[in-house]
Amino acid sequence: MSPTSRFRTLRNGGAVELAAIPVVAVEEFRASVLRAAKAGLRLCALFARPVEGGTGLCSVLADDARGFLYTLFSEPTRAFRSLASDLPQAHLFEREIAESSDIAVSEHPWLKPVRMGFPDAAVFFRESGDEVHEVAVGPIHAGIIEPGHFRFQCHGETVHHLEIQLGYQHRGVEALLAGGPDRRCVFVAESISGDTAVGHALAYCSNLESLAGARASLRGEALRAAALELERLSDHTGDLGAMSGDVGFLPVAAYFGRLRGEFLNMLMALCGNRFGRGLVRPGGAAFDLTNAMAEDFSARLARARTDLNAISGLLFESASVLGRFDETGVVSRQTARDLGLVGLAARASGLDLDVRRDHPHGFYRFRHIPVVKIDSGDVYARAMLRHLESLRSLDFLEELIADLPRGAARAACPAPRPGRFAVCLVEGWRGEICHVAETGDDGRFRSYKIVDPSFHNWPAVAMAMRGGEISDFPLCNKSFNLSYAGHDL
């Protein structure tokens, strides 16, 4: 029996009838997910969904080598035996299920709230001993960053354990989307994580289109891909600047900040918003790129490439910077695989994963982008990867803009059909964004599940700090630059 025989197969960005998805007893659901994961499939989402007569479970797994997604439902249940001991990827998903539904999770190794457990109420892992001390940071930080609580167990300057407690940004995004689609929904999707407005809006709109059985216009798809790559460029260069700033290399931080502005200004020229809000809409893109603008963009991209190479040269050729980046915050390949890391963090640890290549959707079906990976798993790898990916994105953008498909930027997108289930994966700049939508009999969302790449990757920050120095934490954290809002939803 093949490890995926229980599951319903679908393609990224596709939709199926709800009735076509197998519903199995919870023990069999558990065994099937475990068997598929043992066979090398990756857990994209595991969540509780309301069904008639209670709450059932849903899993979405990805076969990255073949480009298929697999999904399976469980019968309504009140109890679920944890997978986390055998499948660490499931750890946070199960805590989320236990916290947000009436399903009780048993035998979980560290069952505590994901978003609802604030530090004064939560239990933290503690070391004891005369020379061990505990350092608690946040949720209010000295800089202007998002709120999160970090609890370190230290021996002198060495970190033995880090536990991260988030949830301060919980806004109930999934609950806001359920019952949709309405005019508000796309704005909610754009605000899931402020720096990934295009990525999340793209996943949301693709789901809406596939639920309706419609397609976006080809030119619209191309414009969306352009915006997604511009978002990647602006965030990657912004992060390189922030990492330079964290090691005190201030001039380069300022140069990268200026370069980031160039990409944001291009998004601004395209859609009137520096973060690409308002561009991606069901059926395509709300704004079009004129020929004059395309020529202007090509010139600006060429200049940006020259600047990027020059500024990155300053950063990566400075011995003092490399002294800080090398071998700091290492995440091994095995750890990355066990934790189910996605996107940039996974590729920096040597995993060959990229939704744009493995599960191509939208314009990535027509135009390919080479995947870059680095094996060292340290801060250097995550910094260098940002530089290399930016160069690939520039190549992609220059070719794309020089040869945009003709036609309208936006096609009509009718209302979703009832009783359907859609999954969309988008490679946002941090990694895989997963949106899973399900419509009820009235054609409205019965449930809408969002998995931001940060949700997969936060545990990696804790693992990267093990045995490291506490003074390297800000740099290490910045090298991942995960979203608090995207995790907290």
Partner: protein, 296 residues
Amino acid sequence: MTALFENLAALLIVPPLMPGIITKTKAAFGGRKGPPVLQPYYDLVKLMGKGAVYSRTTTRMFRLGPTLSLAAVVLAGLLVPLVRASALAFPGDAILFAYLLGLSRFATVAAALDAGSSFEGMGASREVAFSSFAEPSLMLAVAALARATGGFSLSGMFGGAIASSFGAGLVLIVGSLFFVLLAENSRIPVDDPATHLELTMIHEVMVLDHGGPDLAFILYGSSMKLLLWSSLLVRLLLPFVPGAEGWAVWSLGIAAVAVAIGVVESSMARLRLIRVPQFLVAAICAAAFAVMLTLK
């Protein structure tokens, strides 16, 4: 008597100018305009006009810290040759200088520990650990200069007639003192005065809980300490400038040191914290070699 007043004027008025120049230099490297050179003065005036908030967990030590720290630095400043040779110089005042700076640090560290926060404890531990590496280089440099000049006071050693055969030794001492200056005044590559990341700070994290006039005292005191170290460097090199004694050359020298610090901060990243002792041991070695050169 005029020498005393001139030095006192330099000691009390000039210090905030140095961080202003450093910030301006760094801004120029980053392609920015940067805040005005006089901004540190405005900040001090603003802070002096504020009230202070004290945590209920702190004791009298917390309030005493900034005042004691500033007082010790001012006293130390009276011993250092600034525009003129110090009027209060006496043989062996270098030892008192080192211990007054030590007292100033003790006051800051004790106040930080008094706040009871885990960050400030970490900052205090780092500050004390690193300064114990910085102190030997000062002592060794003083020993080498004492032999090279035959003077036993700071004014005699810094700015006195250095034996002409001491060229290589002087280079080593200037290098060693510049390293110690960067470490003692929490500059890059040892500490980053501009960072907001509480887990990586050394000096800044110790003063997180101070505000208002207390913070003004701390900022004023640390800029004064920077001036003292810079003045030692400038005085060391003054004999090589013809007709050097006086405000013009001294001020230019101080400004040059500030620019040099700004250039160092713009051209390299901060060291990893465990590498800082190695940096300071290099300073100790340089000073030790300078001593050896005087023994031949």
